[in-house]
């Protein structure tokens, strides 16, 4: 999964496109229907829902279905006993697999939300305030973008320790610059509309202009961005756990499971294969969904133009 891309699924520059998509969110029900109407959208929704269900029901079902809690010991390490054998400490792989998705999904959603809020706030501020404020915010953006996401996250985690909130904040903040760019561009286009100018002339409070007029109008590009960033959040948090810098033992977590069990990949592969497959399905699902949302908003645009 490559991070610093400006390409969106239809192959257009995101900033250019978001300019055209300014009113895409005006009829949200349409978007849901349009997403579902595409085969990609349907498959994306189904795959994502499948893993999200697994992630949240799994922890409850794990002891019932496997007979072991995620931290209980079933056998010696790396044995074939039970449905999917044991892990590096002799715990049930099946049980840990069922329990291992909840934190990943929760943290990814939270990190994406942080990224959207921080990014949108700075992007709108930059666009709305303009001038020096705009320049400072966008230069800070460039600096953050110059450090690869993973390297930045590693630095922060080493300094602050691998706690949950650090993961969420760090991944969120690495998303913020790109979201700020998108929301800045979208805001700039709205600002120049006549009705905003009129509202300003009539001295409507700025906060009200922002929340009544601007926010709804950038929701379209932001929703596309949200799907894409969610995919990247999942990948980044799973990667950090895989590197040993994310979730910490004895937590049952898919990324960490891969780290713990890969030394025995050839003799007891389930401890690696199950979490890999789950992460793959989840990210494919969210990516298809993001693509479908982009097409749905783009087709709105096509109709209007």
């Amino acid at each position: 999964m490559s991070e610093n891309t400006v390409v969106d699924p239809s192959g257009m520059h995101r900033e250019d496109q978001s300019a055209e998509l300014k009113q895409s969110a005006s009829k949200p029900t349409n978007i849901v229907q349009r997403v579902w109407a595409q085969s990609e959208g349907r498959i994306g929704v189904i795959l994502t829902a499948l893993i999200v269900l697994l992630a949240f029901l799994g922890p409850l079902l794990a002891p019932v279905l496997t007979g072991y809690s995620p931290t209980a010991f079933a056998d010696r390490p790396f044995q074939d006993s039970g449905l999917f054998g044991t892990d590096d400490l002799g715990r049930s792989v099946a049980s840990r697999f069922l329990a291992g998705g909840a934190l990943l999904v929760t943290y990814s959603v939270a990190a994406t939300a942080v990224g959207l809020i921080v990014g949108a706030a700075f992007g709108m501020t930059a666009a709305y305030a303009g001038g020096a404020v705009d320049a400072v915010i966008m230069r800070c953006n460039d600096v953050l973008l110059a450090i690869p996401q993973l390297v930045f996250a590693m630095l922060a985690i080493v300094v602050l320790g691998p706690q949950g909130w650090v993961l969420i904040m760090v991944i969120g903040i690495t998303h913020a610059p790109r979201i700020a760019r998108v929301s800045r561009a979208a805001t700039l286009n709205v600002i120049n509309e006549d009705y905003i100018r009129a509202a300003e002339m009539y001295a409507v409070p700025r906060a009200r202009i922002i929340f009544r007029e601007i926010v709804p109008n950038i929701m379209g590009p932001l929703s596309v961005e949200a799907g894409l960033r969610l995919t990247y959040s999942i990948g980044s948090i799973a990667s950090l756990s895989f590197l040993g810098l994310g979730m910490q033992p004895p937590t049952a977590d898919w990324g960490l499971m891969i780290n713990e069990n890969r030394i025995a990949l050839s003799i007891q592969p389930w401890g690696v294969i199950l979490p890999v497959v789950a992460i793959a399905i989840l990210t494919i699902g969210t990516n298809l969904l993001a693509d479908a949302i982009a097409r749905a908003t783009a087709s709105t645009n096509v109709e209007k133009s």
Binding site: R76, P249, P250, I263, A264, I267
Partner: protein, 527 residues
Amino acid sequence: MRTGTGLRRVEQALTRRGILGGAIGVGSVGLLAACGPGPAAQVDMSGGPQRGGALRVGLSGGSSADTVDAHIPVNSGDSARVINIYDTLLIRGDEFELQHRLAETFETNDDGTVWTAKIREGVTFHDGKPLTADDVVFTFERITDPDDPKSGAAGLAMLDEVVATDDYTVEFRLNEANSALDDALGQYAMGIVPRGYDPENPIGSGPFKLKSFEPGQSAVLEANHDYWDEGPYLDEVHLLNFNDTDAVINALLSSQVDCVGQIPLSLVDVIESDERMRILNSETGMWLPFSMRVDKAPFDDVRVRQAMRLVVDREEMLEQVFSGHGRLGNDMFSPLDPDYPSDLPQRTQDIDEAKRLLADAGYPDGLTVELVTAPIQAGAVEAAQVYAEQAKLAGITVDIRRVDTTTFFGENYLSWDFAQSFWYTRNFIPQATSCALEESSTNETQYTDEDFADTFYRARSETNPRLRGELIRQAQHQLYEEGGYIIWGFGNQADAYQSYVGGFVENATGLPLSGYTFRRNWMGEVS
């Protein structure tokens, strides 16, 4: 690789073995990929030791700080080098018994204040000079040099002076009685070096001479054919450093090396099932304890400490952490010491008793403690997780705080309230000297009991073995009842080697590959 001929030989050796490896296939260069049945070369090991060949030893770790100085070995690779280049007066053998090497005899006077060594005659250094009492005197002057004390100096604090009374007799005069000086000298960091020794030109009297050395990368040792004892059979030993355990195991499976020390115990069964491989599974006295600060709440209450010990299911601990390759611990160290009190009842998990003790100590609703762990040794972080799981049963919540090794041994080392530790095999006197007295340099539990110290000092100066044994058992019993360590087991040392390598035997010291005594190894015929 910058240095000359020796390393070229490494490459030649690699190519030669490469032919053997080639028969096994590229697939073997995988994460244990070659563990399935593969075509193994026929090896005839029945003929006994044969001369010739080079043994390639895979070591994990190593850095540019690696050394060949006889007296400051730090990591495992350093010990592999000094053990083979130098000889000591005494050394621990395969059964952890004290063997006489350069000292034919080593005896104390009646009160334990003077020890006399009779040096073996006819031994020469690598440069051909004979080894005499004067070299022994120089060696101990160098180790205990007050301006630059070496690794072994701490254990020789009682040494007043070392005097050569004739060419082959040395007296060790002590400023206080010590009945265990033989143990202190029986360490690999006590190698005898010639007067005027320069670590840049490391001359010893060991079975191998240093041929080339690239710190952090490799060392080549060549046979000392004038060695006074059995062996060496090999022409050369190549010590090759790899980044980590995975890399070194893959090097073994792809026949890039002939043997590796200390493989993860969870992989023992797997590697053993590969018919090209042999496993050396040695029982040792290595321990991986939890340490509780006896001066800090809640562990300052002996009832809490005993409760913390009673929650451990030691059998399960061995199974999960060491894959069953180890022996049970009974909250006392030095299991290979002849005076280890093996008659004390084995402590087992007793949740009810633990809860009762906790309630008595004022924790009727259980207890929450933080356990600081770090990957200080294979199995450490795993043991912490197993402990946390077991302690739950008694209402003890163990929060695991995982730090990196540098942090663990950093400024807060010795002040973690509840943490872990790792020790190699040692007998009671040196072990307690290191970790159970006020003066100990690494007293992780801050255990400074006066009664214990009194018993210990009496034991250390007692030269009558029977009386000393009784004192040691008494001291051990005190640790069993109130010590700060949770000693749940002693892990085996597992090494792996190719079936064509001969001469490896189980070794209890905890040093890998038969205590790194490569003089006994030989290469079988591959047909």
